[in-house]
Structure formats: structure tokens, C-alpha cells
């Protein structure tokens, strides 16, 4: 793993956002995480306001309420209100070409599913986790920005904005509305920043 000093501060912050989004979308937050989120104090930026809203949402949430919400949003009976997979957003079906393309790119970049895991890798939490790992050099050397940008365009930027918007507006969402707003705001920044460096 790369030394943290080699990674620019701004890029470490980006990795924090990806990791936070991944953590919030892989399962409902526990009390520790809610407590820490509730102390966030945003500045007067779009991201700052989204973090303030997330903090407020965390203060009025409990592990029980967020677990119920998570269940209704993503699991449900049969299926949840939302289906947070790239393939579903891009084709209307799970396990289609977007997943195949992701698997090819994962192989190229030295990322694989862990043993015993069989679910699709194109879940929003999974691709966010990969981006954090690429930025920080968890899988290999930290990924050059141009490669990050390419991965983002192919596997996140082309659908996740719509997913976060859907989350923000989901009927079953309360705490997760704030997660959706934060994800949408962060993706807008990522998109603009990648364009600037192009």
C-alpha cells in the first residue's frame, strides 16, 4: 500500500467521501456512525450544506429507523424501492453488459471479489469502495487521475447521479434522503473536477 503522504490532501478527501458513501450504502449505519455523523459541521458550500443536512438527519435517526429504511429502500419484499446497481440503471436489467465491462476493468486494475462472494460487483457501494481504493492505492499504486477519470466515466458517472437523485426523492427515505443529496453533490464535484483536469 502506498504511503499516505504521497497522496494529495484533496484526493484523500475524495477517498473519504467515496468511503463514507460506500459505508452508508452497504448497510444501515450503526449508532457509532450516526453519532459521528451528527457532529459534522459543514461550511457554506454545496457539500457543506449537504453534510449539515446529513448531520441533522443523523441526529434524528436511530439504528432501528435507518435499518428499517434501508430494508424498504434496497431489500424489500421481492425487491426494494430502488435497485442500486449500474447494470439496472443503464439497461433496466441486472447482470447485463455494464457488469461485464466492470469486471473486465476490475481485472485490468487488479481488483477481484473476495472468496465466497457471489453478488454482482456493480452495486453503488462496491464501485464507490473501488474508487476510494484506487485513489488511495489500496489495490496497487495510487491510480493516475486520468485512469480514475476513465473508471468514473465508465462505471459511476454514467448512472450514479440518477441513483442518488432517486434516493433523495425515494418515498421510503428519510435519513437516506440526506445520503442521496450528499452523493449527488459529491458526484457533481467529481464530474467537474475530472473535466478540469482533462
Amino acid at each position: 500500500m502506498a504511503q499516505r503522504e504521497e497522496i494529495l490532501e484533496e484526493d484523500q478527501y475524495r477517498a473519504h467521501f467515496y468511503r463514507l458513501l460506500s459505508r452508508l450504502l452497504v448497510r444501515a449505519p450503526d449508532q457509532d456512525l450516526l453519532t459521528q455523523l451528527s457532529t459534522l459541521n459543514g461550511d457554506d458550500t454545496a457539500i457543506g450544506r449537504a453534510l449539515d443536512a446529513l448531520a441533522a438527519a443523523a441526529r434524528s435517526a436511530t439504528p432501528d429507523t435507518t435499518t428499517d429504511e434501508y430494508q424498504n429502500l434496497f431489500i424489500g419484499i421481492g425487491r426494494g424501492e430502488l435497485v442500486p446497481f449500474a447494470s439496472y440503471y443503464l439497461t433496466g436489467f441486472l447482470n447485463e453488459k455494464p457488469l461485464a465491462r466492470l469486471r473486465q476493468d476490475m481485472a485490468t486494475h487488479g481488483v477481484a471479489r473476495a472468496d465466497g462472494v457471489s453478488e454482482p460487483e456493480d452495486h453503488i457501494a462496491s464501485v464507490c469502495e473501488m474508487m476510494a481504493g484506487f485513489i488511495l492505492g489500496d489495490f496497487d499504486a495510487p491510480m493516475p487521475l486520468a485512469r480514475q477519470s476513465e473508471f468514473f466515466d465508465r462505471h459511476i458517472g454514467n448512472w450514479a447521479g440518477r441513483f442518488f437523485e432517486d434516493l433523495e426523492n425515494a418515498k421510503s427515505a428519510d435519513f437516506y434522503k440526506a445520503v442521496g443529496a450528499l452523493g449527488r453533490a459529491f458526484l457533481e464535484i467529481e464530474t467537474t473536477a475530472f473535466q478540469m483536469a482533462a
Binding site: 490532501e9 484523500q12 477517498a15 448497510r27 471479489r113 472468496d115 453478488e119 454482482p120
Partner: protein, 70 residues
């Protein structure tokens, strides 16, 4: 941001850094213990090939997979 807002004489990379600095991402750093600074373990559906220890399959991804078989 349009091109007019870009400062002349700065590299694209530097402009990108400036943009990210102003975007307020650092606000999250205070909560990094919970989100970024804590010992990392893969929690979503990916892991390093060489060191997959620490991965935990979640109820969610199991359900998601079942669902994908409809």
C-alpha cells in the same frame, strides 16, 4: 465552472486542486475516524485478490444477489 474562471498560467492539475479545495470536501475530515481514517476493511463486494481477509458479506448483498435471479 467555465473556462473564463480558470486562472491563466496555472496547470490544469493545479486548477483542479484549487477547485477541490474550494468545494468544501475537507469538512468531512473531522469525521474521518468513522469514514476514512479507521482501519479499512472491505465491506462492499470487492477486495484485493491477495488479501481478501476482513471482507464480510452483508445481508444486503446476499439479498441483492437472490433478487438478481428473478
Amino acid at each position: 465552472m467555465n473556462k473564463d474562471q480558470r486562472k491563466p498560467g496555472k496547470s490544469k492539475t493545479a486548477q483542479r486542486r484549487d477547485f477541490l479545495k474550494l468545494a468544501g470536501l475537507g469538512t468531512l475530515a473531522g469525521a474521518a475516524a468513522a469514514t476514512g481514517g479507521a482501519p479499512r476493511k472491505a465491506e462492499a463486494a470487492t477486495a484485493k485478490p491477495a488479501t481478501s481477509a476482513g471482507y464480510r458479506e452483508t445481508e444486503h448483498v446476499k439479498k441483492a444477489y437472490e433478487r438478481s435471479r428473478f
